[in-house]
């Protein structure tokens, strides 16, 4: 492969729709449920399946509105995955919903029935990461991105706020071909964008520009990353903060550009550091020279546990304070 020629000015200008408001919080699963009703209104090909978690994934909103296009499959995820593949092979656009751990857990069924067929299934995995809190490891999706990313042709998406989720679902319902996995949070996330937001598949979104550090985050930890950047200013470092809603296909141009214009780069994700965003970024940098020092913040090859989301983010290094601590340790080492 040819080595990409990247210059500083390839970093895209700041978008006018960045509008951060920590007071306005919505869980991305709630945004999804709402969006699903709205796309279902206009597109008759949209069908929805759930496996006894519609109350939690919020697909129940679609079920109430369009009972004929909703299939309650019971606690039987493999059967749901195969059924969705059959519906997609027959021209429908199925959204199949459960907790991320339970859908991604049926990896081999997804691998053949959905991925290898390259069908238009939208696999929805809610309850991403240790951010779910008290239920503990068995209900946490912590390896789902790694699994889904390994499948050729599978898009891997994770929105970071309400409006981004809505626009993503509109895009997937009307303008996208091929299978995708969408990762959503149980917990409410602060607003990052206003109504002007435009979803661009495969593109990173710059929230703030700085000189020293590039913070590349996805999903529920984008806002903590943004807060960390503010704290780092007090220490004399400025940061570029980037939201990666498309983990695959990754915005390689942007990653390379950031890696060449900053001295340090940190990836931040509520997911194992093996195979998720951190790995995806490492894979891009592995083929380039003279790039920023990269460090991956995320779950460090360890199982999650029960606790409040706040206590878990503290213990596992994803709170704003712990992110700052990690970064300063790296910078000063």
């Amino acid at each position: 492969m040819e080595k990409a020629q990247v210059s500083k000015n390839e970093t895209k200008p700041l978008k006018n729709y960045v509008d951060i408001n920590p007071q306005k919080k919505v869980a991305t699963r709630a945004a999804f449920g709402k969006a699903l009703v709205s796309v279902g209104e206009n597109n008759q090909n949209i069908v929805v399946l759930d496996a006894d978690l519609s109350v939690s994934t919020k697909s129940s909103l679609f079920a109430e509105k369009f009972p004929d296009r909703f299939f309650e499959m019971g606690i039987a995820e493999s059967n749901m995955i195969g059924t969705a593949a059959g519906l997609a092979l027959s021209g429908k656009i199925p959204y199949l919903c459960s907790f991320g751990c339970f859908v991604a857990g049926r990896f081999e069924t997804i691998r053949i029935s959905i991925a290898y067929n390259q069908v238009n299934c939208r696999i929805i995995g809610t309850h991403a990461g240790i951010g779910i809190g008290e239920d503990g490891y068995t209900q946490m999706a912590l390896e789902d991105m790694a699994l889904m990313r390994s499948l050729p042709g599978m898009g891997v998406l994770q929105p970071a706020d309400d409006i981004e989720t809505q626009r993503m679902i509109e895009f997937l319902s009307n303008h996208h071909q091929g299978p995708v996995y969408v990762r959503l949070t149980r917990q409410a996330l602060p607003q990052l964008f206003n109504q002007q937001y435009v979803f661009e598949y495969g593109k990173g979104v710059i929230l703030e520009e700085g000189k020293d550090i590039a913070l590349v985050a996805t999903g529920g930890v984008v806002h903590p990353a943004y807060e960390a950047a503010q704290k780092l200013k007090e220490k004399g470092y400025t940061s570029s903060v980037v939201n990666i809603h498309t983990i695959k296909p990754l915005d390689e141009t942007l990653i390379q550009s950031l890696a060449h214009s900053h001295q340090w780069m940190f990836t931040i994700e509520d997911h194992t550091i093996m195979g998720g965003l951190g790995s995806a970024v490492s894979e891009v940098l592995a083929g380039t020279q003279n790039h920023a020092v990269l460090s991956r913040i995320g779950i460090q090859d360890i199982y999650g546990e029960s606790g409040t989301p706040e206590a878990l983010y503290e213990k596992y290094g994803l709170s704003t304070a712990k992110i700052v601590e990690h970064i300063l340790r790296q910078l000063e080492s």
Partner: protein, 278 residues
């Protein structure tokens, strides 16, 4: 083993079941999250197993001859933690650490943190296969222990359950005793509406299991069914226990809303008061 429960023993076990229900609700309220419905429905089954029927020793938890108990419906674990504490596996105070950070009492069983739980569970549908493996090991080692496996009714919608339903009779696992907490509810609604299981008894019989159907809140019937399951017919055993989700608390009984949420302090006090009076 006696053929029926004496009135004294019946009285004692009812008291224990009541205590397990109270503790479950106290733990869940303290944690401000958890699954009351499926803990209360299973309380009588868990009581008879842990306080009378199973051979086990809290002072020697890894005793190789112990009967095995596999909680396949992992979210129902509060009632099992309560039973383990009451049996003396760990101090009762520890129950109030449920779901808190650094606790051994995870929201769903964690075998590594708390080895008294024979297996980790919480992803539904996996426990019956694990129990089957334990039953096979008993046969290989020529051990007398039995393996009990507690299943949720919604849980048996999982395909893996029916894979185990096929394989256990093949290996004539008469030492495997599955108990179905048939409380008729799951998350999205009544089991009947979500994905109907009936005819349940006929299904398990067709898969060649020795099936009994009982009232899962009648201690005599639970005891009798377990007795029956000790007799080998060269088949695995399935006890379909009809139960009520949220059993013992009027506002929780048969109410799907109480599948997976914590009572408020006031609701807890009301529930405890009802259980006390009952």
């Amino acid at each position: 083993m006696a053929t029926s429960l004496s009135p004294e023993l019946h009285q004692k076990l009812s008291e224990t079941a009541r205590a397990l229900r109270m503790l479950s609700l106290q733990m869940i309220t303290e944690a401000q999250s958890g699954h009351p419905g499926g803990s209360l429905s299973a309380a009588d089954l868990v009581t008879v197993l842990f306080f009378h029927y199973m051979t086990h020793n809290p002072h020697e938890p890894h005793w190789p001859e112990r009967d095995r108990f596999v909680l396949s419906k992992g979210h129902g674990v509060p009632v099992v933690y309560a039973a383990l504490a009451k049996c003396g596996y760990f101090p009762e105070e520890e129950l109030m650490t449920l779901r808190k950070i650094n606790s051994r009492l995870q929201g769903h069983p964690d075998h590594v943190r708390l080895p008294f739980m024979e297996t980790s569970s919480g992803s539904l549908g996996q426990g019956l296969s694990i129990a089957q493996g334990m039953a096979m090991a008993a046969k290989l080692d020529q051990k007398k222990y039995k393996t009990y496996c507690l299943l949720g009714d919604g849980e048996t919608q999982e395909g893996q359950i029916w894979e185990a339903a096929m394989s256990a009779p093949k290996y004539q696992l008469d030492n495997l005793i599955a108990i179905l907490d048939f409380n008729k509810g799951q998350i999205d609604g009544y089991t009947e509406d979500v994905m109907n299981l009936s005819p349940l008894k006929a299904k398990w019989e067709a898969f060649n299991w020795e099936v009994q159907e009982i009232d899962g809140h009648d201690l005599h019937q639970i005891f009798a069914a377990l007795n029956h399951a000790q007799i080998s017919r060269k088949k695995p055993h399935m006890i379909i226990a009809h139960t009520i989700k949220g059993k013992g608390v009027s506002f929780m009984e048969d109410n799907i809303d109480w599948h997976g949420k914590s009572p408020s302090l006031k609701e807890r006090d009301q529930a405890i008061e009802e259980l006390r009076r009952h």
